[in-house]
Symmetry: C2
Subunit: 460 residues, 2 copies
Amino acid sequence: MTHDCSFLDDLDLDGAVSRGSSDRKNHAGDFGTREADEVEPDAVVFAASTADVAAVVGAATDHGVPVTPYAAGTGLESNATPVEGGISLSTVRMDTVLEVRPDDLQVDVQAGVIGEDVNEALARHGLFFPPLPSSGAISTIGGMIATDASGQQTVKYGEVADWVLELEVVLADGSVVELGSKAAKTSSGYNLKDLVVGSEGTLGVVTRATLEVAGRPEQVKGGRAVFATLADATEAISDAVTAGVDVAKIELIDDRTALLANTYSDTDLPERPMAFVEFHANHGIDEEIAFCRSVFDAHGLEEMEIASGEAMERLWQARKDITYAAEEYDPDLDIGPPGDVTVPISRYPEMISEVRAVAERYDLFVPCFGHAGDGNLHYFVLADYDDPEEAARAKEAYGELVERAIDLDGTATGEHGVGVGKREYLELEHGEAAVGAMRAVKQALDPRNTLNPGKVIPPE
Amino acid sequence: MTHDCSFLDDLDLDGAVSRGSSDRKNHAGDFGTREADEVEPDAVVFAASTADVAAVVGAATDHGVPVTPYAAGTGLESNATPVEGGISLSTVRMDTVLEVRPDDLQVDVQAGVIGEDVNEALARHGLFFPPLPSSGAISTIGGMIATDASGQQTVKYGEVADWVLELEVVLADGSVVELGSKAAKTSSGYNLKDLVVGSEGTLGVVTRATLEVAGRPEQVKGGRAVFATLADATEAISDAVTAGVDVAKIELIDDRTALLANTYSDTDLPERPMAFVEFHANHGIDEEIAFCRSVFDAHGLEEMEIASGEAMERLWQARKDITYAAEEYDPDLDIGPPGDVTVPISRYPEMISEVRAVAERYDLFVPCFGHAGDGNLHYFVLADYDDPEEAARAKEAYGELVERAIDLDGTATGEHGVGVGKREYLELEHGEAAVGAMRAVKQALDPRNTLNPGKVIPPE
């Protein structure tokens, strides 16, 4: 679908408009988009200011042209693919940390700033932004807000939404609003701020955010724990969380994932289920670690290594390498879309068993790992996606696990968002009436369907 | 305005319909409604089930009759006053704690359950619901959700919204939806759950909630600290919070409020500004208290008493009695609507100075106190509200403080909600376009304006 975007040339933009083939190609998909599913936008606008975003969105609505916001393109569900063509609206130039206010534990940033750049600015004040996802070194704050991202530290600090106080947002008609408040709490009017967070650019384009931040902990230690069985490991993690062990990170990898890591790095990790942990405290960290160890011991802990600084990072390396290790494991196999289901923590052991059962039933290699403290499980269905039969089988296995998570009172996506790929599960998870209410809200705020059409809400 | 509610008699309800004068009178207002502003509903429905709520709301929409949800009636902004008549929909009979799931740190409750009753059920499992407001012994979970209530422990644990995982909600057309997820986090679809939280029953009627809960801390200590000046006290509190002192409560009262407390209880508290603190920990509580004291010392701390158990409760008594003390201070003076402004914590000292300046300028007695750790300031403009000149002066003083809070990047209401009384400040705080977006959302979800009309959104 192509759209006449010539109206862009009449706008008085600080930023640039590009129709060049490499810019269009670069904005045709994100990390989660297979090449065959890429769609090139008709034009890319590199907005330099909120005024640019407002001018483009307002005019696009007037002309009936779709606008798909584009941040760093690290989305995993084609969240930023312009599936109906039109304009890809890049925020990459809006990358300024505007103001750090240590006395309020707040920072104002433009939407296009990279997560780690925020942390760099905060570090000078002894502060940090806790809910940064694993992609924080390459993904933007605006993108994290769009998907309500979260990550390894969510078990202690919550998700991105919990740290967003105020948003500047451009609505579909081009008006600019401030949602939320710089006050620590408010009960003033409808909470449109948290409606926009996680809406993947379909209700408005985030241009600026006021984030809450935290003081850096004085003590940091962490490492890994090895268990005999996957059941032991998952139950140990579940118990540690409900017993109130104050972990900053608590991650799981299964034995298959340990095998991937060994293959990738030529290491000799025990090919058994492992929990990776990290602790943050201002005092008493060793007491907390001892508490954690006592819970793990009750679940057949085999060994636990704890360190700090670089030694800790080395213990964690296998966890950090997972995606690369899975991608490189076998040149004939692709990893497919990463599973991102989340279930109540008491159902986590069941969810893991289900991954095993499905892998066996479909005769596929399905390593799994995840932010176990939140009940968030990632999995890769490794398959030859160029073979139609195998691709279909892999897709079925993948979908069966999503459905199983929903059965277990869980959600289709814990942190990646719906994008294109998860739309088909939305009614199963939320029911027809709730999806109808979502559709009504979209219609109310974006009546001409300008903003990121084809995402989140399934077709009627 | 009266409405024909005879359709209620055709519904097959488990609950009761009352048109009795005492039931109508009892649902004509809430704690914040002056007698002259009360409006009796045409009928009161005591719903016994979600099906009852759905039947009443659906039929009321069909008949164009307003429905105002009524919980315990402890609102302070006439949030539950049926200003356009119609039906008052009481959830008081829906008061069951449905299921405690300790392994998930979750509890399912009906909307009409009293806060402390939830805590009683949780206590048997060593758990508690942390964000309970000060009214928790008399107010319902549904009411707390409706206003996104918070309280003394919000500085450590957050507000009610942060602990609501999933809601069962009856929409204006009578459909029943589940919003949110029992998973600890989700990025699946629009966050309508947090849109309904704080919407004061204007977008849907909450019938059931899944709440997250926490383990009870093993160590609890607290007490009070006396400062020479109000500036010292506010700066000490602000510094303690930003320095990362892990307080569970940190409250302020000014010298005028200390005077009220002495008058009320015939005590001899120092009539100086005081901070009330409480600490929760599983280990290391004394280290944390020492850290707090060191911060306070740097701001002219005069004395600090810390205790546990009943001795701690006694130290806190003056804080707990404030509202009663203010009401009884002078039989000729009424307390008026309680101020509920919230500002970024660095602006808290300025906000307090403004209260002093306004009190002096308007020649009124304005004691103030509040959840200082969140920047939430309550104040009473004591005046003879039966004297039209004095009432007008008091109203002006009250409003000037709300406007000043908004100037200071704050909010008109930190926890009481908008109701009727704060509607006039909504555009000043959020701007016309944002209020327009709120109005569009209301129109989308409740096109016939059935649900709690006349609240939150100002008239166009």
